[in-house]
Symmetry: C2
C-alpha cells in the first residue's frame, strides 16, 4: 500500500524553520524537528505574487509515467551515481564527485572534466531528492533503495559542504584550478550556472529528506553571489553566460520566502543584454581568463538585447529555455506585463517556427543553437535532450502564467517525444542529440553527422543530458497540474493522486486510464471543499471530438471549453467521477512548406506520440518509403515489443535499391518502380533500442 502521509515526514535533521515551495508554489513548512507540511503559498504575506499560483502535488502511482519513475528510481539514478563516481567501464569518466572531494581536501589530484562538471552532480542530487520524496510518499517504492539513495545523498552533500569556501563560494573548477580567477569569465566559465543547479539540488534534497544541509550551503552560496553582483557600487554588473541561476533563485525565494533571492534573480534578468555589454568589457579585461576559444557573439547567450525586447528565439537553445523559464517565473511572481509579453513572443518564435514535431529544438550542432524560422533539418538536427526538457519547463511556466492549454500541448509534445527519446528503455544509455532521420552508415563515415549517434551512449564527456532526464522524471508530478484561485488545471494525464489547495480548500482527485496508449481518462474526486471549485481538464490540441461525462452524465464540451481546457465547475464531492474520452485515431501531419527537410513528407502521430519508421521493422532506404495516399492505419498494442508499445501499420510503398543497375545518374529521368509494402511505425521515443539501423520520422507522402 502506498503511504499517503506525504504532508509530514519524520527526519532527524536540523532545527531551523523553513518553508519549501514546489514548482507550483506549494509551500512545505518545516518545523523545528524537520517536519514539513503543506501550506498554501498565499499565506506568506511577504511574497507579493500576481497572478497567484496555488500549490498542487501530484503523486504518480501507475501507468506509463509510473513505469518511467520506477525505472528512474531503480536503474537511472543508481546507474548515474556509478557514472558520476567513474565506475562505468568504457564510458567517459565524469570526475564530478572526485572534483568535489579534491576541492574539499578529501582527495588529492587535479580537477578533470568540463568547467561545469559540478552541475552534473548537482542535477543528480536534485533527481535523488525528488526520487526520495516520491519514495517517501509511496510505499511501493522499495524502502531499501530509498535508504541507499538517502545515504548516498547525505554522503555527497557532506563532501559538497566541505568543498564550500569560507565566504560561501562553491565551484570545484575554480577552487581547485584557478582560485584567483573567480567570476573573471562569466560568459564561458559557467560559475553561475553551476550555482543555479546546486541551488535546485539543495531545494530538492530538503524537499525529499528534510535535511537542510545542502539548502544551507546554497543559501550561503546565493548570499555570497549577492555580495559580488548587483547594481550597487563596487559590485560586478555581470550576468551568466549560461542562464540557470535566475530560475533557481526564484525557486529558492519560493522555498525560503526570502525576497532577497527574488531580487537577485530579477537583477540578473534585468541586467542581461544592457549596453554597453558586460561581456564586451569582460572579454577585454586584464582579469579575463579564457576557457575556450569561442568567439563573443551576443546572440549566442541571449545577451544581445534586454530580455523584454527579445522576440526571436536565438542562440544556444538550452540557455534560451532556462532564460525564458526564469522570465516567465518572474512574470508570475511580479505580474510584470512586459516580461510576460516577451515570454509570449519568445514562445511563438520557439514553438511556432523553430521546433521539431518531436518537441526538439536547436537546429544545428554548431553552437547547439537555434538558427532561423523553418530551418529544421531532420538528419543534421541537434534537438538536444536538455533543450526539449527546457522547453517542457518553459511550457509549464507559460501554462501557469496564462492557463492556456496550448502551452501544455507543446509540453506534452516535448515530453512524450523529444525528452524521453533521450533515455534508453533500460535507463542506462542516453542521447544528447535527437535526430529525426538517421542512417548509421552515413553517421559512421560523414563527419557532418559527428554529433548524431544512432545508439544511446553510456555517458558523455559533456554529460548535461543524462542527469537532466533523471531530475525531470523524478519531479514529473510537479508539472502535471497547476492551480489558481478556485481552479485545478489538469495539464497532463498521469495516473495518480492530484492534490491542490484552492482558495476554498483542498481538492484531491485520482487520475486513471492507460494514457498515452488509450484516450479514456478518468478523474475521480476523493476530497473537495464544501463550495464550488473548477476542475479544468486539458483537451489536447491533437484531439478531435473529445467527450466528457460527469457521473455518467454527458457534458457539452463546447459549452465548458476555455482556452483548451474543459472547465467543470460544481461543488465536487468525494466519489464524483469524470470520464474523458479522447479519440486517438492515427493522424497524419504535414509541416509548413517552408520546412525544407520535411517538404512532401508526412509524420504520423497518435495521441501525443509521434511515430517513426525503424529499419528493424521495415527495411533499408527509409528515405524512399512512401505512405499510401489513403493510409489504412492499423493500431495494435504489443506488450512484447520495446517495453510495451502501440504499433501502427499502414499500406505504403518501397523502392528496390539493390535491383537497380548501378548507374549513378540516368537520363531521361524516371521515377523508381514502387512495390507495395506494409509500413510499421513505432513511437519515436522508443527508437534505437534494438540493433542499429535507419530511422525516419517524416515519410514520403504517397
Amino acid at each position: 500500500m502506498r503511504s499517503k502521509t506525504r504532508g509530514a515526514i519524520q527526519c532527524e535533521h536540523r532545527d531551523l524553520p523553513i518553508s519549501v515551495v514546489n514548482n507550483f508554489g506549494t509551500i512545505l513548512k518545516g518545523d523545528s524537528c524537520g517536519m514539513i507540511r503543506l501550506e498554501s503559498a498565499t499565506t506568506e504575506e511577504s511574497m507579493p505574487r500576481t497572478p497567484q499560483p496555488h500549490h498542487t502535488r501530484v503523486l504518480i502511482t501507475s501507468g506509463f509515467w509510473r513505469a518511467y519513475q520506477t525505472l528512474n528510481h531503480e536503474r537511472v539514478i543508481p546507474y548515474q551515481w556509478r557514472a558520476l563516481n567513474d565506475e562505468i567501464p568504457d564510458a567517459p569518466k565524469s570526475h564530478s564527485v572526485e572534483n568535489f572531494r579534491i576541492a574539499a581536501a578529501m582527495s588529492q589530484g587535479d580537477y578533470d572534466g568540463m568547467v561545469f562538471q559540478d552541475s552534473d552532480l548537482a542535477k543528480w542530487i536534485e533527481a535523488a531528492g525528488y526520487a526520495i520524496e516520491n519514495a517517501r510518499d509511496d510505499s511501493e517504492f522499495p524502502a531499501a533503495a530509498r535508504q541507499t539513495l538517502e545515504q548516498r545523498v547525505r554522503h555527497v552533500v557532506d563532501v559538497i559542504a566541505a568543498a564550500q569556501q569560507p565566504d560561501g563560494y562553491l565551484n570545484t573548477y575554480f577552487t581547485v584550478k584557478r582560485p584567483d580567477a573567480r567570476w573573471s569569465n562569466l560568459r564561458q566559465a559557467h560559475e553561475l550556472y553551476v550555482a543555479g543547479h546546486m541551488i535546485e539540488a539543495g531545494i530538492a534534497v530538503f524537499r525529499g529528506t528534510g535535511d537542510r544541509t545542502l539548502l544551507d550551503v546554497v543559501i550561503r552560496l546565493a548570499d555570497h553571489i549577492a555580495t559580488v553582483f548587483g547594481t550597487e557600487p563596487g559590485k560586478k554588473r555581470g550576468y551568466p553566460g549560461h542562464q540557470e541561476i535566475e530560475l533557481a533563485l526564484i525557486k529558492l525565494y519560493r522555498t525560503t520566502g526570502e525576497t532577497r533571492f527574488l531580487d537577485l534573480a530579477r537583477y540578473f534578468i534585468d541586467e542581461r543584454g544592457r549596453t554597453p555589454y558586460y561581456f564586451d568589457a569582460e572579454a577585454t579585461s586584464p582579469d579575463f581568463v579564457r576557457i575556450w576559444n569561442s568567439p563573443l557573439v551576443h546572440d549566442y547567450q541571449q545577451s544581445h538585447l534586454p530580455v523584454r525586447e527579445q522576440v526571436d528565439a536565438v542562440g544556444h537553445s538550452v540557455r534560451a529555455m532556462y532564460q525564458y523559464v526564469a522570465m516567465a517565473n518572474l512574470a508570475i511572481e511580479t505580474g510584470d506585463a512586459a516580461l510576460a509579453q516577451a515570454c509570449r513572443a519568445l514562445w511563438e518564435s520557439t514553438t511556432g517556427r523553430r521546433m521539431y514535431v518531436t518537441g526538439g529544438i536547436g537546429s544545428t550542432s554548431a553552437g547547439e543553437q537555434f538558427t532561423i524560422d523553418y530551418d529544421l533539418p531532420n538528419d543534421t538536427a541537434y534537438a538536444e535532450t536538455c533543450a526539449a526538457i527546457g522547453l517542457f519547463f518553459f511550457a509549464h511556466r507559460m501554462a501557469v502564467l496564462d492557463s492556456d492549454a496550448r502551452y501544455a500541448d507543446v509540453a506534452e509534445r516535448a515530453l512524450y517525444n523529444g525528452v524521453i527519446s533521450g533515455l534508453s528503455l533500460d535507463g542506462e544509455r542516453y542521447f544528447y542529440v535527437n535526430p529525426l532521420a538517421v542512417d548509421p552508415r552515413v553517421c559512421d563515415t560523414n563527419g557532418t553527422y559527428a554529433h548524431v549517434k544512432y545508439r544511446r551512449q553510456p555517458w558523455y564527456g559533456c554529460a548535461c543530458c543524462p542527469p537532466n532526464i533523471a531530475r525531470l522524471l523524478a519531479s514529473l508530478g510537479d508539472y502535471a497540474a497547476h492551480a489558481t484561485g478556485t481552479t485545478l488545471y489538469l495539464d497532463h494525464f498521469m495516473n495518480g493522486t492530484v492534490s491542490a489547495t484552492l482558495e476554498p480548500g483542498p481538492l484531491e482527485v485520482e487520475v486513471g486510464g492507460d494514457y498515452p496508449w488509450d484516450g479514456a481518462v478518468t478523474v475521480t474526486v476523493s476530497d473537495a471543499p464544501a463550495s464550488d471549485t473548477t476542475i479544468a481538464i486539458r483537451l489536447p490540441g491533437w484531439c478531435d471530438g473529445p467527450t466528457i461525462t460527469v457521473n455518467d452524465e454527458p457534458v457539452k464540451v463546447a459549452a465548458v471549453l476555455q482556452r483548451g481546457y474543459a472547465t467543470l465547475t460544481r461543488r465536487w464531492r468525494a466519489g464524483d467521477r469524470i470520464a474523458v474520452d479522447l479519440p486517438m485515431p492515427v493522424r497524419t501531419i504535414s509541416a509548413d512548406p517552408r520546412v525544407k527537410s520535411s517538404f512532401g513528407r508526412i509524420a504520423v502521430q497518435r495521441g501525443p506520440l509521434v511515430y517513426c519508421l525503424e529499419e528493424a521493422d521495415n527495411r533499408t532506404g527509409l528515405h524512399t518509403v512512401a505512405l499510401a495516399s489513403v493510409p489504412d492505419f492499423q493500431v495494435a498494442h504489443r506488450d512484447d515489443l520495446l517495453g510495451g508499445v502501440t504499433v501502427i501499420t499502414s499500406a505504403g510503398t518501397t523502392v528496390a535499391l539493390q535491383a537497380c543497375d548501378d548507374t549513378l545518374y540516368r537520363a531521361p529521368a524516371y521515377p523508381p518502380g514502387r512495390t507495395d509494402a506494409t509500413l510499421t511505425f513505432i513511437p519515436y521515443y522508443a527508437w534505437a533500442n534494438r540493433e542499429p539501423g535507419e530511422m525516419v520520422v517524416w515519410v514520403l507522402a504517397g
Copy 2:
C-alpha cells in the same frame, strides 16, 4: 593574326640543353640558346614507355574556352598576383610571396599562413608559365600583358631561387620557422606536396619562357628529396601526407628524360600504405613536430593500404585524386597492369558511386572527404573546386591509359560544371565549396553550413582552389586531346588548333563550332601524313543520335564507334572537313535511388552543362518547386545574361509559402496547393553571379 610559331621561341636564358614534355608526352627540346621545338617523346630512347603516348598540342583560339583563357590571362592571373602579394583589400592575406622573401633574407618578419602556403604561389607560377606559353603562340593575346607576366615570373623565380637552401631544400615554412624540423611530419606538414607544386611550376615556366632557372631549382630540390627518401639504408621510408609530388616527379621525368625522377615517383607510390605504417612510427617519434591536432586516420590520406590494393575512393578527396593521377601516370609509363587495374577500380568507386552530377566529389566538409557510396548530400556538400580539378586530371590520365570515351565524359562533366563553378564570371571571386542546393538565409545562421558560401570569395586563408583553377585554365589545351600510334583522340570540343605527332607524322586539325551551346562541331584537317591515320572524335555519353559527315558524306556512326569514339581512318588531306552534329535536347536526369538528397528529384542537363534554378530567375522556396511531369523545355541563348548563356525554361509548379496560415504542423496532412509557373534554369557554373539567393540543382519531379 595569331602566330603559329609556337614550336620556337626567343629567349635569353641559360645554356643547358633540356627537353620539355607536356602532359601528353610532347617533348619540347631546348637548345643552347633556349630555343625549344616540338619533338616526339618516342625519340627519347632512355624512356621506356608502355603504352606509348604521343604528343599533342592544342591551342584554343575561339569560343567558350578561349573566353575563359582570355579571362584567365587578363583578370584571374593578374588578380591572383595581387592576392599573393597581399594587395587585395578586405581579403585574407596570402603572405605567400612575402614568406619567400623572408626565407630568401630579402625581407624581415615571421612566416605567416598555412603550412603549405608556398603551394599557392607555385600554382600561380605554373598558371603564369602556361599563360605565357599560350600568349607566345597566339598573337591575339596582348604582348604587353605577356611581358608584364614574364617580368613578374622572372622576379618571383629569382626570389624562390634565393630561398632555396644550399642542399636544395625549398620550403619557406620550415626554412623560416623550424629549420630543425624538416621532414619530421610528412603526414601534416605538406613539404612533399609543396615540392610537387614547385616542380610543376618549374616545368611550366620552362615551357612558357624557356627560362630554366626554376626548373634547375626544382631539379635540385628533387635530387635533394631523393637523398632523404628511399628504401636504401639511412633513408626515410616516408611518403607524403598530401599526394602531389608523385605526379610532379613523373612530369619532371617526362620533361628531363631523367629516369631517377620516375624512380623516385615510383618509390613514393609503391611505399604508400605498407605496414608497419610510416605515419604510425612518425607520430610516435621524438622528432615529430605536430602541425595540427588532427588524428592519425590512415584512410584520410589513402595510406591505409598499398595503392594497388585500394578499391574504394576514401579520405581527403584532393589527395585521393592526385594519388590516382600519379598511379595512372605510372601505369602509362611502365605498363604496370596491377596499378592500371587499381586505377580502374578507384575510378568506378569515385565516379560510379561517389560523384555529384556536377562532377564534384567529397561529400563532407569534415576532413574534405569522401564518405560512403551514394552519400551525396546537396546542401552540405563539399565538392571542393580542387577535387573536381583533380578528378578532371584523373579522368584525363585514364583516357590516355585506356582511350575510352567514358573517362572524357566524366572529365567534361567536371570541367563544365563543378570546376568552373569555382570561378566568378569576372575572374576575381572563388568558390572553395560547390554545393548543389543553397539557401543563403540558412547559411548565414546554421553553422552546419559554415563551409558553404553563397557568394564567391575574394580569397581564402587556405587558398588552394583559386590558383588551381588558374593553372588548369591556362593549361587546358593539354587535356583536350591525346594521341597514340596512328590515332589522334579529340576528347573535348575546344575550338582551335590540335596538333599531334603520330607515328606516320604530324597531323593537325582545326576544331570549330559553338560548343557547349550548340552541338555542331567541325574538324578541318590542315596537315596530315601521307598515310592512313585515325581521327577519333569522342561522341559524348549524354548524346543520343550523333551524326557525322566527312566532306559532306554521311558516316555510319555505329560502324566507326569504338569505346565511345567515332574513329575515322583514312589518308587525311588538308582541307578535309568532318562535321559532327551532337543533338542537344534538354535531358532530365535521375540519380540512383540510394542518393537520399536527390531522391524524387530531377536534374536538368543540356549538352555537357548541368543546369540549376536560381532565386533571381524564379522565387524563394526552390525546394518546393516541381518540374512539370511532361516538361515543355524551351531553349534560348541570351547574350545579355551571365556573360552569355543558353537558358532553359519549362512549365512547372510552385507552392505558396507566404499565404499559409503559419501553422508549423498541421493535421491531417495535406499536400500544399500548387501553382503553375515557368521555371528558368541557368547553367550551374554561372550561379551566384547576381544577387545572393537560393539555388538548387535537383528539382522535385512533377
